[in-house]
């Protein structure tokens, strides 16, 4: 099920201090998450709805016997969700000691991101989504927006449905 591709040739900056990032598209933008936090990438299987959960929580799925929540990246970013397609995947990531899934339309690449070149995020997004971003970096032609998975999952904000 894992479909991570090899790093592309755009990563020529060998001298620099780099980290591998998983890169994908949401809408027109390119986003990246640290590959270290990514456990695996799975094809999307329908999640079980959790009553009273916020709309961006698609529900829970079974990950080899563990129950994990799946969050829809588009809904989280205030975009209308896209119907499920062949390319729809769930990126399974770990923040703190919890594992969760992030549903994406597709994943495209693994990139070496030069850490020195990461800029603070300009106010490109609404304030609500601003906290999901940890920086922005130009790699060749592409501008990659780096995501803060902890803020996206934001387990503390889910206390509204908690018992």
């Amino acid at each position: 099920m894992t479909t991570i591709t090899q790093p592309t040739e755009t990563t020529t900056a060998t001298e620099m201090n780099t980290d591998k990032y998983l890169v994908f598209q949401i809408g027109n933008e390119t986003y990246g998450v640290p590959l270290l936090q990514v456990q695996e990438i799975r094809t999307y299987t329908p999640a079980t709805r959790v009553p009273n959960a916020p709309d961006y929580v698609l529900g829970v799925i079974n990950l080899r016997g563990n129950i994990i929540a799946v969050i829809d990246a588009r809904t989280r970013f205030g975009l209308p969700p896209l119907p499920e397609e062949e390319s729809t995947v769930v990126v399974v990531a770990q923040v703190s000691d919890k594992i969760f899934g992030l549903r994406l339309d597709s994943v495209s690449d693994v990139m070496d991101i030069p850490l020195e070149q990461v800029q603070p995020t300009p106010p490109i997004a609404s304030e609500a989504t601003q906290r999901f971003l940890s920086g922005v970096v130009q790699v060749g032609e592409r501008v990659v927006i780096l995501l803060n998975l902890r803020e996206i999952f934001d387990i503390d904000a889910l206390s509204s449905i908690a018992a």
């Binding site: 929540a69 889910l158 908690a162």
Partner: protein
């Protein structure tokens, strides 16, 4: 520690527990010969195992114990309390020796020997026939190891069949003999013919053994005959004629027609490791009957297996759904068959991790006995629901809290016999430990019929501690809550057994760390009841699948009372949120599952499922029932949050997740309706 050593300790601990249980069972009931045999077998295998590991002190002690129990077994003696206590002390001694062995190596304990002597004295002292049995004082021969007292000895002459074959291995026979007793002396004679007459496959040797065993001569004979078909075997009891004993070695020499007999003594410590394993001998096979056949597997391996099976289940469901009209018959049949097997596999693997609570409960009778004896109290200990299954890790974690609660019950709960008599109670108090599964949780209850909690004293203590003032008169419930606060102890004096620093607060913390809760009920003079509620994290439960729209929920089957058509009911609505339904003249609060899970209402026909928990009922309106199934409760909290209204989730056979409804939460919601109803009615 290497794995062999670990295995030895695991097994040793199991055996110690087993011995203890057998002893306690013997004490309370008729001396069933089979249980005495079991006791003997434990001592015997213990000896074998520890000898195999080279723990001489352990094996020596257990050997002595074995001999003592053999006497007990032979004489069909009833276990007197005195003897039972001694034997239990022996079990403790084994524990001590085990611990020493683990920490300090092969060291003994000076009290071993006196204890054995005491046991033997008690057993022999009550022998009805005062016949000078083969007892220790007669045998002064220095060749005798000190532990052989009282065990019959035999002189065995063994001449293998002239033609040797693979089945007739003299060495194997000797090995086997060593398993059933002790070869004290072994003489080998050879009668080798001149070279030209020598046959390569013939046996020209014979053995003479001085053999000591607790088994009947008939068994020894059977053993020899079995192992040495066609051989010449002579068995003479030695102890029957003790006077000739000292003369025997010389006698043997005179008989010797052969040149020089070579003498070899097999030390008992060299019992091969095989001794611990089950042998083919019929005697042993019969003796092992009734023991569970099991192997030890680490839980990690089981978890890995479980996860893998879950993946297979998902893959299987993907395969099943990939079928279409073009799929040929053979593929279809294969998929169907595989579906069935995968489901079976899934179920079995899930069941592996579970253990009955008896695994834990079995430790307590001994503790109760000892504690009660120490405190001079009479306690009848009852256990119920031992077959309830629980995840192993959970069981382990419950050990300490339960030990504490039971000790407390004996120490503070149950009154001394005379006090009980004065209060018109039977002298013997009762402590009941029970386990059951309800609403998807495991309940463990410790109940005693003792003096109950003195709420007045609790209050005084709370005032003393400055938690409340003289003018406060908190409810009983609040007072009971104080018991679980750190720093609280009502025990007048700190006793040897309980109230030593570790208090109820620790019990509470332990239980809560398992995601459980603890509550107490008590009535002055009548008793106290502690109720532990623990989640069954991995416990399998029977669930009933409920559907609303296209969603699937599970309720624990134990909570389900009945189900019927909604339309058949007379139904009373109050306001729009609070509803009651009339079930055969009784009003039960109604909860609409669709509303509960945030789905739009429907005017379709529905079903009512009546759920009950601790005497409270609720009517749940659903769309349909999906059937009954075994489910494994999974935590939502582990990677997500605990979701209001749900006890957890489970994975259905097709790999999908279904949420498990929390009945107590539904009831709470229903109770609100009921209260509103009462307010207007």
């Amino acid at each position: 520690m290497d794995s062999l050593m670990q295995l030895f300790y695991d097994e040793a601990n199991e055996m110690v527990e087993g011995m203890e249980q057998v002893l306690l069972a013997l004490e309370s009931g008729e001396p069933d010969p089979e249980t005495v045999n079991a006791l003997f077998r434990y001592a015997h295998s213990f000896k074998g195992n520890s000898a195999a590991m080279g723990f001489t002190h352990l094996s020596k002690f257990t050997h002595g114990l074995e001999s003592a129990m053999e006497a007990l077994r032979k004489e069909q003696r009833t276990l007197t309390p005195e003897l039972a206590t001694l034997l239990l002390q022996a079990v403790d001694m084994i524990r001590t020796l085990l611990e020493r062995t683990r920490t300090e190596g092969d060291v003994g304990d000076p009290t071993c020997e006196p204890l054995l002597q005491q046991i033997n004295a008690v057993i022999n002292g009550e022998t009805p026939q005062p016949v000078p049995a083969p007892s220790a004082p007669v045998q002064t021969a220095p060749a005798e190891p000190p532990t052989t007292q009282g065990t019959p000895q035999y002189r065995i002459t063994y001449q293998p069949a002239p033609t040797l074959s693979a089945e007739h291995d003299p060495l194997q026979l000797l090995t086997e003999l060593q398993e059933y007793g002790q070869v004290i002396e072994c003489r080998f004679r050879e009668q080798i013919p001149p070279l030209e007459q020598l046959k390569t496959d013939a046996c020209y040797g014979s053995w003479e053994l001085l053999y000591e065993t607790a088994f009947e001569p008939a068994i020894v004979r059977a053993l020899l005959e079995l192992a040495a078909e066609g051989a010449e075997v002579r068995i003479e009891p030695v102890n029957a004629a003790p006077t000739t004993e000292t003369a025997q070695p010389t006698a043997a020499e005179t008989v010797a027609a052969a040149p020089q007999p070579s003498v070899a003594t097999l030390p008992p410590t060299e019992t091969p490791a095989a001794a611990a394993a089950t042998t083919t001998a019929a005697v042993n096979a019969a003796a092992n009957k009734g023991e569970a056949q099991s192997i030890r597997v680490s839980t990690e391996k089981i978890d890995a297996l479980m996860n893998l099976v879950s993946e297979i289940v998902i893959a299987q469901s993907m395969l099943s759904s990939a079928q279409n009209a073009d799929t040929d018959e053979r593929t279809r049949a294969a998929i169907t068959q595989m579906e069935r097997h995968v489901r079976d596999l899934h179920e079995r693997v899930m069941a592996i991790r579970l253990l009955p609570v008896s695994y834990l409960f079995n430790r307590f009778p001994r503790m109760v006995r000892d504690t009660a004896a120490k405190l001079g109290k009479k306690v009848n200990f009852e256990v119920e629901g031992e077959e309830t299954e629980l995840d192993r890790t959970l069981l382990e974690a419950l050990s300490d809290p339960l030990t504490h609660l039971i000790r407390n019950a004996i120490d503070h709960g149950i009154e001394p016999p005379d006090e009980r008599r004065q209060n018109g109670k039977p002298e013997t108090g009762t402590i009941k430990l029970s386990a059951y599964q309800s609403e998807g949780r495991i309940y463990i209850e410790v109940r005693d019929d003792g003096r109950g909690i003195n709420t007045e004293r609790v209050r005084e203590k709370a005032i003393q501690l400055g938690w409340i003032t003289e003018n406060d008169h908190p409810s009983e419930e609040t007072l009971f809550e104080f018991l679980f606060q750190p720093g609280f102890s009502t025990a007048q004096q700190v006793s040897d057994l309980s109230g030593r620093g570790v208090g109820m607060d620790v019990v509470k913390r332990n239980v809560e760390s398992l995601g459980g809760s603890i509550s107490v009920q008590s009535k002055r003079g009548e008793g106290t009841r502690f109720l532990l509620r623990v989640p069954l994290t991995l416990a399998i439960m029977d669930g009933l699948g409920l559907t609303v729209a296209d969603e699937h929920y599970i309720v624990p089957l134990t909570a389900v009372v009945e189900a019927f058509q909604y339309e058949s009911l007379q139904h009373t609505a109050l306001f729009d949120q609070y509803e009651m339904v009339n079930v055969r003249g009784e009003f039960i609060p109604l909860v609409r599952l669709r509303q509960f899970v945030g789905l739009p209402e429907t005017d379709h026909d529905g079903l009512i499922v009546v759920l009950e928990q601790e005497g409270e009922q609720i009517a749940l309106l659903i769309d349909g029932i999906a059937g009954q199934q075994q489910v494994v409760l999974k935590s939502l909290e582990e990677n997500f949050v605990r979701v209001h209204g749900f006890a957890g989730a489970t994975i259905l056979g097709d790999g999908r997740v279904a949420l498990i409804l929390d009945v107590s939460d539904l009831i709470r919601r229903g109770r609100q309706s009921a209260e509103r109803y009462a307010a207007v009615a």
